[in-house]
Subunit: 249 residues, 2 copies
DNA sequence: CTGCGTCGGATTGTCGGACAATAGGACAAC
DNA sequence: GTTGTCCTATTGTCCGACAATCCGACGCAG
């Protein structure tokens, strides 16, 4: 994460890419260029091996790489792999790994949420549809109905955020957001179970946000989401969790 | 990217994970738990194969997956793989793939930048060190010195953003930001070369931002960054590039 | 015609083993 | 200290094999 402004070297390292990298790259290019489209089945490993003139096991290594990048997946119970778009969850887990290993703290994630979430709420207030509202309300009800100490409750809170993201109609923010909520979820669980008033405060904020969206009141949406996120930090303080707690694995 | 509020199923798909996935998972867990730390060399493939009681090629498939996730890398010119933290660039490229395949448009990315960058600038204004300022100035000078039509200029602009991110001392935002600038870079290049006044406007904004940071003037930093990013969209409009242009590969 | 067994071929997951190229280290020569 | 030489361990790639199972076809009952 450090950088210098410029660092010219006399020679570049001589390029010696292993074959599996090049195979993966070739397929990746085709996918990004949409020559292979989502849902298209990949050729069989043997076919690929013949086309690239490499052994099947080399092809397989390349496939593992693409699989890990989320560019190909195997539909549950299918044998052949199909081309796919990286799922948001996939990116989120990558981001979470990075955050964990870079010793990101709770405040860092929280700060990022403070930046993003209120604006997402503001956008959502302008663009939400009736369907979005219905889903938000459903999530809200589900949260209120979730029994005390239910670990599922955090899932629902996260889902509320995700629906809101979808309502903002901005895929980029959705992707970024999701990583954050996912990273926070585990510790949030602990917080909710420790702080007695947390649940009611969350429910209240959700309600206010829903109302703001319904009225397309951009300012209020932003304000309440701000409050909502700020409350998280308050909750952590009350629960005696240090803001510098690293994101746990 | 769609979702429903809840979808209970009677049965989960019966779990039948291939061995390479489990091997990858096992190693991943050890890395995230810091039992294997950054820089530690992995055991050799043969050793791993013996420990996991699988064939070496199975281990290799697992390694490819970890490699793609950025959890292990091979230092240039080395033979064995070492544990590493996912580089920001790695995440950024994953994000870019996702954006491309999800048909993210230029406005979507721009909107996300409008949300994030001004706040990053604001944070940076509070936390910047002398070293940060020096690097910003260096990047700024480099930009001004870059010859007309130099494709490298965009690189420098991106670098300016990255230094600013580093100055904000928030790794989470840095990771999120980087993906955006990287996604925008290719089309930005076209814009800069088309719009004559683009370069001077960018240089001016950079200067103002640097001054704001130097004075730790949070409000001004936010304001000028806002203007800076907004200018990008203006530039696109002037250049006749549609805001709905998809992010190119 | 729709739904349900059955069956054969194709494809994947995994394995055993092989070999050339080379990184890494030890050791000698300058 | 640097440079050359040699040996060994390890990786990248290949070959070939086989069990499990997905896939599609085929036929039969309702």
């Amino acid at each position: 994460m450090q950088q210098s402004v410029a660092e010219p070297r006399l020679f570049e390292p001589v390029e010696r890419e292993p074959a599996y990298t090049r195979v993966a790259g070739a397929i990746e290019t085709k996918i990004l260029a949409r020559e292979l489209r989502e849902g298209d089945p990949l050729p069989t490993e043997t076919e690929l091996a013949q086309q690239f003139r490499v052994h099947r096991s080399t092809v397989r290594e390349a496939l593992r790489r693409l699989e890990s990048a989320g560019l190909i997946t195997r539909p549950p119970g299918a044998k052949r792999m199909v081309v796919s778009r990286p799922a948001a969850a996939q990116l989120a887990s990558g981001m979470r790994h990075a955050l964990v290993l870079h010793d990101a703290t709770f405040v860092a994630v929280w700060e990022a949420m403070m930046v993003i979430e209120p604006e997402v709420a503001a956008l959502a207030a302008q663009r939400r549809t009736q369907a979005d509202l219905a889903m938000l309300i459903a999530a809200h009800e589900a949260f209120k109905a979730s029994p005390k100490g239910d670990p599922h409750a955090v899932e629902i809170v996260a889902q509320f955020f995700e629906i809101l993201g979808a309502a903002s109609r901005n895929q980029v923010l959705v992707l970024a957001k999701q990583s954050l909520t996912r990273a926070l979820a585990p510790s949030l669980l602990k917080m909710i179970d420790t702080v007695p008033q947390a649940r009611s405060r969350i429910a209240d904020a959700q309600r206010r946000i829903i109302v703001s969206l319904k009225e397309k009141n951009v300012e209020e949406a932003r304000r309440w989401m701000s409050k909502h996120v700020r409350d998280f930090k308050r909750g952590y303080e009350v629960a005696g969790i240090s803001p510098d707690t690293p994101i746990s694995a």
